[in-house]
Symmetry: C2
Subunit: 278 residues, 2 copies
């Protein structure tokens, strides 16, 4: 297994708590020697995307992903179509940013059967839009604790079934999944799922953070790598053995801890922890 350092790693800007405008965030990430960035729409929309893209490019950063989709399923056809239209605009922006992937956090409904059907339909429509833009779609299965409010897709297996159903097995897929340790670490089928994803070349990203025990807030109390219970080295080995060679991306939602710290401190700790704990 390769020894990680910052040049193998990307920073998902959510990790830094959205404290500063995107130009300062880009500067900080590049100054600390990281190789990639995954910005959020809230930091980008309403700005000159060309200028942001140029700054990122000039800083030598890869845009690993653009976060994230508007939730897809809805209780009316009109709302569903509005969600798809909104995601198409975001896909255009992802292309302009030069993002390798557009991250799909898909949403959910009380009626899971309908939610899942709408997600399948919606992702197929977005893939048609993404193809000429040369942006990949990265489905992110979320932890099952979010099944009621954020994602009807919780298992990697389920996400891969959707990929296979929509795109089929192709040499150079444009639809794949994100492997985020926070969402998938607990699963007894993780190795099987990662191997399947790797064989299909569908691992479009690898996100790290840690599961704190106890977790005080299920949404915004993710831990820094090494501070929780996840066996990060084992999971990285699975993902790399399955053929993933992309950047390792840190994504930590932590309103009460990391989001309150200066960006430079968080980035410095990440650089240590990717060596000791990932």
């Amino acid at each position: 297994m390769r020894v990680l350092d910052a040049k193998h790693c990307a920073i998902n800007t959510a990790t830094l708590g959205f404290q500063a405008p995107i130009n300062l965030v880009i500067d900080a990430i590049a100054r600390h020697g990281f190789a990639g960035i995954a910005p959020w729409r809230r930091e980008i929309e309403g700005q000159s995307i060309k200028a942001v893209a140029k700054q990122i490019r000039d800083a030598g950063l890869e845009v690993t992903g653009y976060c994230r989709s508007t939730y897809i399923p809805a209780n009316s056809r009109a709302e569903f179509e509005a969600n798809i239209a909104d995601n198409k605009l975001a896909l255009n922006d992802a292309a302009e940013l030069g993002a390798k992937s557009f991250v799909l956090v898909v949403g959910t409904l009380r009626d899971l059967v309908s939610a899942r059907a709408q997600v399948r339909d919606g992702v197929a429509m977005l893939l048609d839009h993404a193809r000429p833009l040369n942006v990949r779609l990265a489905l992110e299965p979320l932890h099952p604790v979010y099944a009621a409010d954020r994602s009807c897709i919780t298992l990697a297996e389920e996400a891969l079934d959707i990929c296979d159903a929509i795109e089929g097995l192709v040499a150079d897929p444009q639809l794949g999944i994100l492997v985020d340790v926070y969402h998938l670490w607990w699963s007894a089928t993780l190795k099987r799922d990662v191997e399947r994803a790797g064989t299909a070349k569908r691992i479009f990203g690898f996100h790290v953070s840690d599961w704190l025990n106890p977790t005080v807030d299920i949404l915004n109390d993710r831990g820094m790598m090494g501070d929780g219970v996840i066996d990060l080295k084992s999971i990285r080995q699975m993902v790399e053995t399955a053929g993933y060679q992309g950047l390792v991306e840190t994504e930590i939602f932590s309103t009460q801890n990391w989001w309150k710290k200066p960006m430079d401190e968080t980035l410095r700790v990440i650089k240590e922890r990717i060596i000791t704990s990932v």
Copy 2:
């Protein structure tokens, strides 16, 4: 699908908040017309089990399950063996109570691989002890949100794999699983897992409650059936179509709501909700 009423249903005593001694709890459950009870060790140990068993029998109640195992995996062999010994004593009590199943909530460790191996070994040891006692072991896969502190077994598939590995496919299995909607409702593979469990005759219990959205406390904020997002009727249909004919058991952990109400009120609401919502 059969129309449910109290005579098809059991009450897990945790639902009533452990407010009263077991003799009053038994009386209340029987008085409301329920057909079964699943008591907890904290209510039973230190009492005359013969007397409790007689009261339950005289009240015409079935003991669907005895809750629950001491966590199995440990960081030392001595501790592991103490856990097994403790569970053997509880199994003796389960037999004396006439419980159909002893409920296994298995525990976990930071090292999931070791935890899972110890659970496999420990369950095999307990099955040897349970066999002559004629008590079944009901493995309960817990929601993945508990993987760090309560159960390394989270998927029904995983629990069924353990059953198959230990007991093999037999006509009259003594090792099976609990299907608890709270733990499994979110899974896209639920139907497949339930069908597999039914084919193997391994569905030893069916627990209902509801997933509240939002959930304010991940351990003790379960909802009354009908107050949350779970499609209970669909899941009951899956379970009954798979061949389950046992009682439908209500188990609600709710420190801030149901546990504060008088037992009679909770039991009355359950009787309504099993008709309208399950």
